[in-house]
Amino acid sequence: MLVSLPEIPAEDDEVLVARARAGDYDAFEALVRRHQRRVYAVAYGIVKNAAEAEEVAQETFLSAFEHLDGFRGEARFSTWLFRVASNHALMKLRKKKPEPWGDVTDLEPSLSRAQSRSDGTSPFDALSQWARRPDEAADANEVQEALSSALDTLSDDDRALLLLRSIAESSHEALAERFETTIPAIKSRLHRIRLQLRGQLDERLHGKPPP
């Protein structure tokens, strides 16, 4: 069940964005190919609906195409892309329960270069690691259901934050900008989310009742 993805190579993105901006459509398509799985996964984790997640992916890459001229190397392309994807996804949720929401294609020209993440990719299967605990093992379907329902216990914004970190590999700095808060606040919020997720999964996978 290992899902291996290459690291997000920011340097190559810059080259492709520059070529796409100069009118090279193949370069744009290469950017779509490179990021579409992660964009969809972030969107799906937020909207929890396949058709809507695909719409979010469509809207996100259309926005990217229309805003190619906005990238002059100040912001990392993928940071911007996943920010737009998460905004589109959250906006879809908020249309169902109407609330005001800002411009989703805000380009963030001041965003500084994101650092790459050191612990983002796991060389082995996270799920089997969980099940490998000596006291109990869970079958694969049970794990998938547990993951889905544990994710449901997070708020929309917390889900978006978690997925931007774990799938899009956004830096703490970019996330602090995105959620309009400080880096320490983002770190502590991510810590709380991880603790909640761990607790929810443990309840589900080990059959312990909530305290």
Binding site: L5, Q36, Y44, E54, L147, L151, K187, L197, D202, P211
Partner: protein, 101 residues
């Protein structure tokens, strides 16, 4: 071990966190507070030694760390597996239509 989001053991001791006294060994509660920085490789070398030492001695904390670390990766893998195999083709043809007339 409890299914709650709290620390593995409920010692309740230690009013000062390890951050305020990095030369002291960590207890279970302090260890949980440090996990975020631990998995992000942001602890000092000394803090890291204390955390590693604690986990060698404390099986519940080691299990807790594994779950804490792998829960987000499990979610990531879970969602990536939901990506339709033909998404890329559909997306490319949608975009071609919309951007090239």
């Amino acid at each position: 071990m409890s299914g709650s989001t709290e620390n593995p053991r409920h010692d309740g001791k230690d009013p000062e966190g390890v951050m305020s006294n990095p030369s002291r060994p960590v207890d279970c509660q302090q260890l949980v507070e440090l996990l975020g920085e631990y998995v992000d490789n942001q602890l000092t070398a000394e803090q890291r030694v204390h955390v590693d030492y604690h986990m060698e001695q404390c099986a519940p904390c080691l299990a807790f760390l594994r779950q804490y670390k792998f829960a987000p990766q499990a979610v990531r893998d879970h969602l990536l597996q939901a990506v339709p195999v033909d998404l890329e083709d559909r997306l490319l043809s949608f975009l071609k239509k919309r951007t090239r007339g």
